[in-house]
Protein backbone atom coordinates (compact mmCIF):
# COMPACT_ATOMS: atom_id res chain seq x y z
CA UNK A 1 0.00 0.00 0.00
CA UNK A 2 1.50 3.29 -1.00
CA UNK A 3 1.73 6.20 1.38
CA UNK A 4 -0.64 8.22 -0.80
CA UNK A 5 -3.58 5.97 -0.01
CA UNK A 6 -3.62 6.92 3.64
CA UNK A 7 -3.33 10.67 3.19
CA UNK A 8 -6.26 12.99 2.52
CA UNK A 9 -4.17 16.01 1.47
CA UNK A 10 -4.58 16.94 -2.17
CA UNK A 11 -1.67 18.24 -4.21
CA UNK A 12 -0.87 19.29 -7.74
CA UNK A 13 2.05 17.88 -9.72
CA UNK A 14 3.44 19.58 -12.80
CA UNK A 15 5.42 18.36 -15.78
CA UNK A 16 8.62 20.43 -15.79
CA UNK A 17 8.77 20.44 -19.58
CA UNK A 18 5.30 21.26 -20.89
CA UNK A 19 3.44 22.45 -17.80
CA UNK A 20 0.78 19.73 -17.75
CA UNK A 21 -0.61 19.68 -14.22
CA UNK A 22 -2.10 16.69 -12.46
CA UNK A 23 -4.48 17.96 -9.78
CA UNK A 24 -5.27 15.14 -7.35
CA UNK A 25 -8.59 16.77 -6.45
CA UNK A 26 -9.71 16.71 -10.09
CA UNK A 27 -7.90 13.67 -11.44
CA UNK A 28 -7.76 13.42 -15.23
CA UNK A 29 -11.00 12.14 -16.72
CA UNK A 30 -9.64 11.70 -20.23
CA UNK A 31 -6.79 9.56 -18.98
CA UNK A 32 -9.09 7.54 -16.73
CA UNK A 33 -7.96 8.85 -13.35
CA UNK A 34 -11.02 9.93 -11.32
CA UNK A 35 -10.95 12.79 -8.78
CA UNK A 36 -9.14 11.88 -5.61
CA UNK A 37 -6.54 9.55 -7.16
CA UNK A 38 -3.23 10.48 -5.58
CA UNK A 39 -0.29 11.15 -7.82
CA UNK A 40 1.73 8.54 -5.97
CA UNK A 41 -0.92 5.97 -6.87
CA UNK A 42 -0.67 6.58 -10.61
CA UNK A 43 1.04 3.71 -12.45
CA UNK A 44 4.83 3.56 -12.16
CA UNK A 45 5.10 3.84 -15.93
CA UNK A 46 3.03 7.05 -15.99
CA UNK A 47 4.47 9.61 -18.38
CA UNK A 48 3.24 13.13 -19.00
CA UNK A 49 -0.01 12.74 -21.00
CA UNK A 50 0.76 15.88 -23.02
CA UNK A 51 4.44 15.66 -23.94
CA UNK A 52 5.35 12.06 -22.93
CA UNK A 53 8.98 13.04 -22.41
CA UNK A 54 8.90 13.36 -18.63
CA UNK A 55 8.49 10.39 -16.32
CA UNK A 56 6.43 10.30 -13.14
CA UNK A 57 9.49 10.93 -10.96
CA UNK A 58 10.28 14.08 -12.95
CA UNK A 59 7.04 15.79 -11.93
CA UNK A 60 7.25 18.68 -9.49
CA UNK A 61 4.92 18.91 -6.50
CA UNK A 62 3.34 22.36 -6.74
CA UNK A 63 1.03 22.56 -3.76
CA UNK A 64 1.18 20.82 -0.43
CA UNK A 65 -2.27 21.88 0.73
Amino acid sequence: MSEGMGSTKMSCYQCPDCGYTYDEAKGDAHEGYPPGIKFVDLPDDFVCPDCAVRYKEDFVNLVGA
Binding site: C18, G32, Y33, P49, C51, A52, V53
Partner: protein, 408 residues
Protein backbone atom coordinates in the same frame (compact mmCIF):
# COMPACT_ATOMS: atom_id res chain seq x y z
CA UNK B 1 6.12 43.00 -40.18
CA UNK B 2 5.01 42.30 -36.65
CA UNK B 3 7.64 43.05 -34.02
CA UNK B 4 7.67 41.29 -30.66
CA UNK B 5 9.30 43.05 -27.74
CA UNK B 6 10.31 42.00 -24.27
CA UNK B 7 11.77 44.12 -21.50
CA UNK B 8 14.46 42.07 -19.82
CA UNK B 9 15.90 43.32 -16.52
CA UNK B 10 19.29 41.89 -17.51
CA UNK B 11 19.42 42.33 -21.28
CA UNK B 12 17.30 45.45 -21.79
CA UNK B 13 14.71 45.56 -24.55
CA UNK B 14 14.65 42.47 -26.78
CA UNK B 15 12.94 42.79 -30.15
CA UNK B 16 12.20 40.08 -32.69
CA UNK B 17 10.38 39.87 -35.98
CA UNK B 18 9.84 36.54 -37.69
CA UNK B 19 11.48 36.71 -41.12
CA UNK B 20 9.62 33.52 -42.08
CA UNK B 21 6.19 34.76 -41.01
CA UNK B 22 4.76 34.96 -44.53
CA UNK B 23 6.86 32.09 -45.83
CA UNK B 24 4.87 29.73 -43.61
CA UNK B 25 2.04 30.11 -46.11
CA UNK B 26 4.14 27.71 -48.21
CA UNK B 27 3.46 24.89 -45.75
CA UNK B 28 -0.25 25.52 -46.22
CA UNK B 29 -0.35 25.59 -50.02
CA UNK B 30 2.41 23.05 -50.66
CA UNK B 31 0.02 20.06 -50.89
CA UNK B 32 -1.56 21.75 -53.94
CA UNK B 33 1.63 20.99 -55.88
CA UNK B 34 0.15 17.48 -56.14
CA UNK B 35 -2.34 18.89 -58.64
CA UNK B 36 0.30 20.45 -60.90
CA UNK B 37 0.47 17.23 -62.95
CA UNK B 38 -3.21 17.43 -63.79
CA UNK B 39 -2.84 21.11 -64.72
CA UNK B 40 0.09 20.36 -67.01
CA UNK B 41 -1.79 17.44 -68.57
CA UNK B 42 -4.75 19.71 -69.32
CA UNK B 43 -2.38 22.15 -71.00
CA UNK B 44 -0.23 19.68 -72.95
CA UNK B 45 -2.20 16.44 -73.25
CA UNK B 46 0.93 14.47 -72.31
CA UNK B 47 0.61 11.86 -69.58
CA UNK B 48 4.27 12.48 -68.70
CA UNK B 49 2.87 15.59 -67.00
CA UNK B 50 1.75 13.44 -64.07
CA UNK B 51 5.39 13.10 -63.01
CA UNK B 52 5.69 16.85 -62.33
CA UNK B 53 4.77 16.73 -58.60
CA UNK B 54 7.22 13.86 -58.07
CA UNK B 55 10.02 15.77 -59.80
CA UNK B 56 9.23 18.77 -57.62
CA UNK B 57 9.21 16.98 -54.28
CA UNK B 58 12.37 14.96 -54.80
CA UNK B 59 14.31 17.01 -57.33
CA UNK B 60 13.40 20.67 -57.07
CA UNK B 61 13.07 20.80 -53.29
CA UNK B 62 16.44 19.08 -52.86
CA UNK B 63 18.03 21.47 -55.35
CA UNK B 64 16.50 24.45 -53.55
CA UNK B 65 17.72 23.13 -50.22
CA UNK B 66 21.23 23.27 -51.66
CA UNK B 67 20.65 26.72 -53.20
CA UNK B 68 19.00 28.42 -50.23
CA UNK B 69 21.10 26.66 -47.58
CA UNK B 70 20.67 26.71 -43.85
CA UNK B 71 18.45 28.84 -41.65
CA UNK B 72 20.45 30.75 -39.07
CA UNK B 73 17.52 32.43 -37.30
CA UNK B 74 16.19 31.46 -33.88
CA UNK B 75 13.53 33.30 -31.89
CA UNK B 76 14.87 34.60 -28.54
CA UNK B 77 13.43 32.57 -25.65
CA UNK B 78 12.08 35.76 -24.08
CA UNK B 79 9.60 36.33 -26.93
CA UNK B 80 8.63 32.68 -27.40
CA UNK B 81 5.53 32.94 -25.17
CA UNK B 82 4.22 35.78 -27.37
CA UNK B 83 5.09 33.88 -30.53
CA UNK B 84 3.33 30.77 -29.20
CA UNK B 85 0.15 32.76 -28.61
CA UNK B 86 0.11 34.37 -32.07
CA UNK B 87 -3.00 32.95 -33.69
CA UNK B 88 -1.86 33.55 -37.28
CA UNK B 89 0.46 30.56 -37.12
CA UNK B 90 -2.15 28.12 -35.89
CA UNK B 91 -4.69 29.35 -38.45
CA UNK B 92 -2.28 28.26 -41.16
CA UNK B 93 -2.37 24.72 -39.79
CA UNK B 94 -6.18 24.78 -39.58
CA UNK B 95 -6.51 25.96 -43.19
CA UNK B 96 -4.16 23.25 -44.43
CA UNK B 97 -6.72 20.61 -43.51
CA UNK B 98 -9.28 21.36 -46.27
CA UNK B 99 -6.41 21.60 -48.75
CA UNK B 100 -5.47 17.98 -48.06
CA UNK B 101 -9.08 16.97 -48.73
CA UNK B 102 -9.20 19.06 -51.92
CA UNK B 103 -6.07 17.30 -53.18
CA UNK B 104 -7.43 13.82 -52.46
CA UNK B 105 -10.83 14.54 -53.99
CA UNK B 106 -9.43 16.26 -57.09
CA UNK B 107 -7.05 13.39 -57.84
CA UNK B 108 -9.76 10.81 -57.17
CA UNK B 109 -12.34 12.57 -59.33
CA UNK B 110 -9.79 12.90 -62.13
CA UNK B 111 -8.88 9.20 -61.97
CA UNK B 112 -12.55 8.26 -61.69
CA UNK B 113 -13.74 10.32 -64.67
CA UNK B 114 -10.85 10.62 -67.14
CA UNK B 115 -9.56 7.96 -69.45
CA UNK B 116 -5.84 7.62 -68.75
CA UNK B 117 -3.44 4.66 -68.79
CA UNK B 118 -2.96 2.34 -65.83
CA UNK B 119 0.56 3.72 -65.38
CA UNK B 120 -0.89 7.22 -65.10
CA UNK B 121 -3.41 6.02 -62.50
CA UNK B 122 -0.49 4.60 -60.51
CA UNK B 123 1.50 7.83 -60.87
CA UNK B 124 -1.48 9.84 -59.65
CA UNK B 125 -2.08 7.45 -56.74
CA UNK B 126 1.58 7.62 -55.69
CA UNK B 127 1.47 11.41 -55.98
CA UNK B 128 -1.69 11.49 -53.89
CA UNK B 129 -0.06 9.24 -51.28
CA UNK B 130 3.06 11.37 -51.04
CA UNK B 131 1.14 14.62 -50.68
CA UNK B 132 -1.52 13.09 -48.39
CA UNK B 133 1.45 11.89 -46.36
CA UNK B 134 2.03 15.59 -45.75
CA UNK B 135 -1.33 15.46 -43.99
CA UNK B 136 0.57 13.65 -41.24
CA UNK B 137 2.86 16.67 -40.96
CA UNK B 138 -0.22 18.82 -40.40
CA UNK B 139 -1.67 16.26 -37.98
CA UNK B 140 1.69 16.14 -36.23
CA UNK B 141 1.71 19.88 -35.59
CA UNK B 142 -1.92 19.90 -34.43
CA UNK B 143 -1.88 16.66 -32.46
CA UNK B 144 0.98 17.73 -30.21
CA UNK B 145 -1.02 20.64 -28.87
CA UNK B 146 -3.04 20.68 -25.68
CA UNK B 147 -6.29 22.20 -26.96
CA UNK B 148 -9.21 19.90 -27.64
CA UNK B 149 -9.84 21.77 -30.91
CA UNK B 150 -6.40 21.10 -32.31
CA UNK B 151 -6.43 17.47 -31.23
CA UNK B 152 -9.79 16.94 -32.91
CA UNK B 153 -8.57 18.65 -36.07
CA UNK B 154 -5.59 16.29 -36.06
CA UNK B 155 -7.98 13.32 -36.12
CA UNK B 156 -9.74 14.81 -39.15
CA UNK B 157 -6.58 15.42 -41.14
CA UNK B 158 -4.89 12.11 -40.33
CA UNK B 159 -7.96 10.45 -41.83
CA UNK B 160 -6.82 11.62 -45.30
CA UNK B 161 -3.83 9.25 -45.44
CA UNK B 162 -5.88 6.60 -43.56
CA UNK B 163 -3.54 6.62 -40.56
CA UNK B 164 -5.99 7.14 -37.72
CA UNK B 165 -3.61 5.93 -35.01
CA UNK B 166 -0.87 8.40 -35.90
CA UNK B 167 -1.15 11.04 -33.19
CA UNK B 168 -1.72 8.59 -30.38
CA UNK B 169 1.15 6.41 -31.49
CA UNK B 170 3.48 9.30 -32.19
CA UNK B 171 2.81 11.40 -29.10
CA UNK B 172 2.45 8.72 -26.48
CA UNK B 173 4.53 5.92 -27.97
CA UNK B 174 7.27 7.24 -30.23
CA UNK B 175 8.11 10.27 -28.09
CA UNK B 176 8.30 8.15 -24.96
CA UNK B 177 10.46 5.42 -26.51
CA UNK B 178 12.41 7.35 -29.16
CA UNK B 179 16.06 6.40 -29.72
CA UNK B 180 15.71 3.13 -27.84
CA UNK B 181 15.72 -0.42 -29.18
CA UNK B 182 12.10 -0.73 -28.01
CA UNK B 183 10.83 1.92 -30.42
CA UNK B 184 9.43 0.51 -33.69
CA UNK B 185 9.59 4.03 -35.11
CA UNK B 186 13.35 4.46 -34.51
CA UNK B 187 15.64 2.89 -37.13
CA UNK B 188 18.81 1.09 -36.11
CA UNK B 189 22.28 1.28 -37.59
CA UNK B 190 22.61 -1.41 -40.24
CA UNK B 191 18.83 -1.68 -40.70
CA UNK B 192 17.62 -0.88 -44.22
CA UNK B 193 14.38 1.00 -44.72
CA UNK B 194 12.94 -2.18 -46.27
CA UNK B 195 13.63 -4.08 -43.02
CA UNK B 196 12.50 -1.12 -40.95
CA UNK B 197 9.07 -0.79 -42.58
CA UNK B 198 8.19 -4.38 -41.67
CA UNK B 199 8.91 -3.57 -38.01
CA UNK B 200 7.57 -0.02 -38.00
CA UNK B 201 4.07 -0.27 -39.49
CA UNK B 202 2.79 -3.22 -37.42
CA UNK B 203 4.76 -2.21 -34.32
CA UNK B 204 3.39 1.32 -34.34
CA UNK B 205 -0.18 0.14 -34.76
CA UNK B 206 0.09 -2.40 -31.92
CA UNK B 207 1.61 0.19 -29.59
CA UNK B 208 -1.08 2.78 -30.36
CA UNK B 209 -3.85 0.23 -29.88
CA UNK B 210 -2.41 -0.89 -26.53
CA UNK B 211 -2.10 2.71 -25.28
CA UNK B 212 -5.70 3.45 -26.24
CA UNK B 213 -6.97 0.14 -24.88
CA UNK B 214 -5.31 0.83 -21.52
CA UNK B 215 -6.81 4.34 -21.39
CA UNK B 216 -10.29 3.10 -22.21
CA UNK B 217 -10.05 0.26 -19.68
CA UNK B 218 -9.13 2.78 -16.97
CA UNK B 219 -12.31 4.61 -17.99
CA UNK B 220 -14.33 1.40 -17.77
CA UNK B 221 -14.90 1.38 -21.55
CA UNK B 222 -14.48 -1.28 -24.17
CA UNK B 223 -11.73 -0.72 -26.73
CA UNK B 224 -14.34 -1.31 -29.46
CA UNK B 225 -16.29 1.83 -28.67
CA UNK B 226 -16.66 5.14 -30.45
CA UNK B 227 -14.68 6.74 -27.64
CA UNK B 228 -11.68 4.99 -29.13
CA UNK B 229 -9.84 7.93 -30.71
CA UNK B 230 -8.16 5.67 -33.26
CA UNK B 231 -11.52 4.36 -34.45
CA UNK B 232 -12.93 7.89 -34.61
CA UNK B 233 -10.35 8.89 -37.18
CA UNK B 234 -10.64 5.63 -39.13
CA UNK B 235 -14.42 6.15 -39.25
CA UNK B 236 -13.83 9.40 -41.16
CA UNK B 237 -11.49 7.57 -43.52
CA UNK B 238 -14.10 4.86 -44.07
CA UNK B 239 -16.83 7.35 -44.94
CA UNK B 240 -14.59 9.29 -47.34
CA UNK B 241 -13.03 6.32 -49.08
CA UNK B 242 -16.21 4.22 -49.34
CA UNK B 243 -17.97 7.23 -50.84
CA UNK B 244 -15.22 7.52 -53.45
CA UNK B 245 -15.45 3.80 -54.25
CA UNK B 246 -19.25 4.01 -54.49
CA UNK B 247 -18.93 6.99 -56.82
CA UNK B 248 -16.21 5.79 -59.15
CA UNK B 249 -16.08 2.01 -58.89
CA UNK B 250 -13.21 -0.43 -58.81
CA UNK B 251 -10.56 1.92 -60.14
CA UNK B 252 -10.89 3.71 -56.79
CA UNK B 253 -9.98 0.53 -54.93
CA UNK B 254 -6.67 0.42 -56.78
CA UNK B 255 -6.15 4.18 -56.49
CA UNK B 256 -6.87 4.31 -52.76
CA UNK B 257 -4.87 1.18 -51.93
CA UNK B 258 -1.77 2.65 -53.58
CA UNK B 259 -2.53 6.13 -52.18
CA UNK B 260 -2.87 4.86 -48.63
CA UNK B 261 0.21 2.66 -48.76
CA UNK B 262 2.32 5.46 -50.20
CA UNK B 263 1.13 7.89 -47.53
CA UNK B 264 2.18 5.40 -44.84
CA UNK B 265 5.49 4.93 -46.66
CA UNK B 266 6.06 8.70 -46.38
CA UNK B 267 5.77 8.41 -42.62
CA UNK B 268 8.02 5.36 -42.63
CA UNK B 269 10.58 7.36 -44.61
CA UNK B 270 10.49 10.23 -42.13
CA UNK B 271 10.73 7.92 -39.13
CA UNK B 272 13.62 6.08 -40.78
CA UNK B 273 15.79 9.16 -41.22
CA UNK B 274 14.92 11.05 -38.05
CA UNK B 275 16.69 8.91 -35.43
CA UNK B 276 18.85 6.44 -37.38
CA UNK B 277 21.21 4.65 -34.99
CA UNK B 278 20.76 7.16 -32.16
CA UNK B 279 20.57 5.72 -28.67
CA UNK B 280 19.50 7.00 -25.27
CA UNK B 281 21.50 5.29 -22.55
CA UNK B 282 19.86 3.41 -19.73
CA UNK B 283 20.40 4.94 -16.31
CA UNK B 284 21.03 3.01 -13.10
CA UNK B 285 17.33 3.32 -12.27
CA UNK B 286 16.48 1.33 -15.38
CA UNK B 287 14.94 4.36 -17.06
CA UNK B 288 16.33 5.70 -20.29
CA UNK B 289 18.07 9.04 -20.08
CA UNK B 290 15.93 12.03 -20.97
CA UNK B 291 15.56 12.70 -24.68
CA UNK B 292 18.07 15.36 -25.68
CA UNK B 293 18.43 17.29 -28.94
CA UNK B 294 21.29 14.98 -29.99
CA UNK B 295 18.88 12.04 -30.02
CA UNK B 296 17.36 13.25 -33.31
CA UNK B 297 18.83 13.99 -36.71
CA UNK B 298 18.20 17.61 -37.53
CA UNK B 299 17.89 19.27 -40.95
CA UNK B 300 18.09 23.01 -40.81
CA UNK B 301 17.56 23.70 -44.52
CA UNK B 302 15.31 26.67 -44.92
CA UNK B 303 13.49 25.63 -48.10
CA UNK B 304 12.19 22.21 -47.07
CA UNK B 305 11.52 23.44 -43.53
CA UNK B 306 9.11 26.09 -44.74
CA UNK B 307 7.27 23.38 -46.69
CA UNK B 308 6.94 21.19 -43.60
CA UNK B 309 5.99 23.43 -40.67
CA UNK B 310 9.58 23.23 -39.35
CA UNK B 311 9.35 19.45 -38.91
CA UNK B 312 13.01 19.11 -39.85
CA UNK B 313 14.07 21.07 -36.76
CA UNK B 314 13.47 17.75 -35.18
CA UNK B 315 16.00 17.93 -32.37
CA UNK B 316 14.23 20.76 -30.58
CA UNK B 317 10.88 19.15 -31.34
CA UNK B 318 11.78 15.93 -29.52
CA UNK B 319 13.34 17.76 -26.62
CA UNK B 320 10.20 19.92 -26.26
CA UNK B 321 7.31 18.24 -28.11
CA UNK B 322 4.52 20.74 -27.46
CA UNK B 323 6.52 23.77 -28.69
CA UNK B 324 4.80 25.29 -31.74
CA UNK B 325 6.47 25.13 -35.13
CA UNK B 326 7.24 28.84 -35.37
CA UNK B 327 9.24 28.63 -32.13
CA UNK B 328 11.46 25.64 -32.90
CA UNK B 329 15.19 26.36 -32.73
CA UNK B 330 18.41 25.16 -34.23
CA UNK B 331 21.46 24.52 -32.06
CA UNK B 332 25.16 24.12 -32.77
CA UNK B 333 26.67 20.62 -32.92
CA UNK B 334 23.46 18.70 -33.52
CA UNK B 335 23.38 15.45 -35.49
CA UNK B 336 22.75 17.00 -38.90
CA UNK B 337 21.45 15.59 -42.16
CA UNK B 338 23.31 16.79 -45.26
CA UNK B 339 20.12 17.81 -47.04
CA UNK B 340 16.39 18.13 -46.34
CA UNK B 341 14.01 15.25 -45.84
CA UNK B 342 13.08 14.59 -49.47
CA UNK B 343 16.66 14.24 -50.63
CA UNK B 344 17.36 12.00 -47.63
CA UNK B 345 14.33 9.84 -48.47
CA UNK B 346 15.85 9.08 -51.87
CA UNK B 347 19.13 8.14 -50.19
CA UNK B 348 17.24 5.88 -47.76
CA UNK B 349 15.59 4.05 -50.67
CA UNK B 350 19.10 3.01 -51.85
CA UNK B 351 20.51 1.33 -48.71
CA UNK B 352 24.20 1.22 -49.76
CA UNK B 353 24.04 4.95 -50.47
CA UNK B 354 22.31 5.57 -47.13
CA UNK B 355 24.91 3.63 -45.14
CA UNK B 356 27.71 5.41 -47.01
CA UNK B 357 26.30 8.83 -46.14
CA UNK B 358 25.04 8.19 -42.62
CA UNK B 359 27.22 5.61 -40.87
CA UNK B 360 30.33 7.83 -40.81
CA UNK B 361 28.25 10.78 -39.61
CA UNK B 362 26.72 8.69 -36.87
CA UNK B 363 30.04 7.37 -35.60
CA UNK B 364 31.56 10.87 -35.64
CA UNK B 365 28.93 12.39 -33.34
CA UNK B 366 30.42 13.73 -30.10
CA UNK B 367 28.18 11.64 -27.87
CA UNK B 368 28.85 8.48 -29.89
CA UNK B 369 32.63 9.04 -29.85
CA UNK B 370 33.28 6.28 -32.39
CA UNK B 371 32.01 3.61 -30.01
CA UNK B 372 29.29 1.26 -31.21
CA UNK B 373 28.24 0.77 -27.59
CA UNK B 374 26.73 4.25 -27.90
CA UNK B 375 24.74 3.30 -31.01
CA UNK B 376 21.36 1.62 -31.53
CA UNK B 377 22.55 -1.31 -33.69
CA UNK B 378 20.41 -3.71 -35.68
CA UNK B 379 20.59 -7.17 -34.07
CA UNK B 380 22.82 -9.44 -36.16
CA UNK B 381 24.79 -6.53 -37.61
CA UNK B 382 27.13 -5.83 -34.68
CA UNK B 383 30.03 -8.06 -35.76
CA UNK B 384 29.96 -6.70 -39.29
CA UNK B 385 29.88 -3.12 -38.03
CA UNK B 386 32.63 -3.81 -35.44
CA UNK B 387 34.88 -4.95 -38.29
CA UNK B 388 34.47 -1.50 -39.81
CA UNK B 389 34.25 0.53 -36.61
CA UNK B 390 36.29 -1.32 -33.93
CA UNK B 391 35.82 -0.30 -30.36
CA UNK B 392 38.32 2.34 -29.20
CA UNK B 393 41.38 0.74 -27.51
CA UNK B 394 40.66 2.80 -24.43
CA UNK B 395 36.90 2.86 -23.91
CA UNK B 396 35.90 6.42 -24.58
CA UNK B 397 33.33 7.73 -22.20
CA UNK B 398 30.92 9.75 -24.27
CA UNK B 399 31.28 13.37 -23.30
CA UNK B 400 28.65 14.13 -20.76
CA UNK B 401 26.31 16.74 -22.08
CA UNK B 402 24.36 17.99 -19.10
CA UNK B 403 20.60 17.80 -19.51
CA UNK B 404 19.26 20.73 -21.47
CA UNK B 405 22.80 21.94 -22.19
CA UNK B 406 21.76 22.81 -25.69
CA UNK B 407 18.02 22.75 -25.30
CA UNK B 408 17.50 25.21 -22.51
Amino acid sequence: MKVYTFESPEKGQITYSDGKRRLWLASMVYPLVALSGIGLYMATGSEWSFLAPLVFIYGVSTLFDALFGLDTSNPPEEVVPQLEEERYYRWLTYLTIPIHYVVLFTLAIFVGTQSVSLLSVLALAITGGIYSGLGLVTAHELGHKKSRLERNLAKIVQAVPAYGHFCLEHNRGHHRDVATPEDPATSRMGESIYQFVRREIPGAFKRAWKIEQDRLERNGKNVWSMENEILQSYAITAVVQLALIASFGWVMVLFLAVHNFWAWWQLTSANYIEHYGLLRKKEASGRYERCQPYHSWNANHVFSNILLFHLERHSDHHAHPVRRYQCLRDFPDLPSLPTGYFGMFVAAYIPPLWYRIMDKRLMALPHVAGDLDNVNVQPGQLDKLLARYPRPAQPVEAPVQPPEAVAA
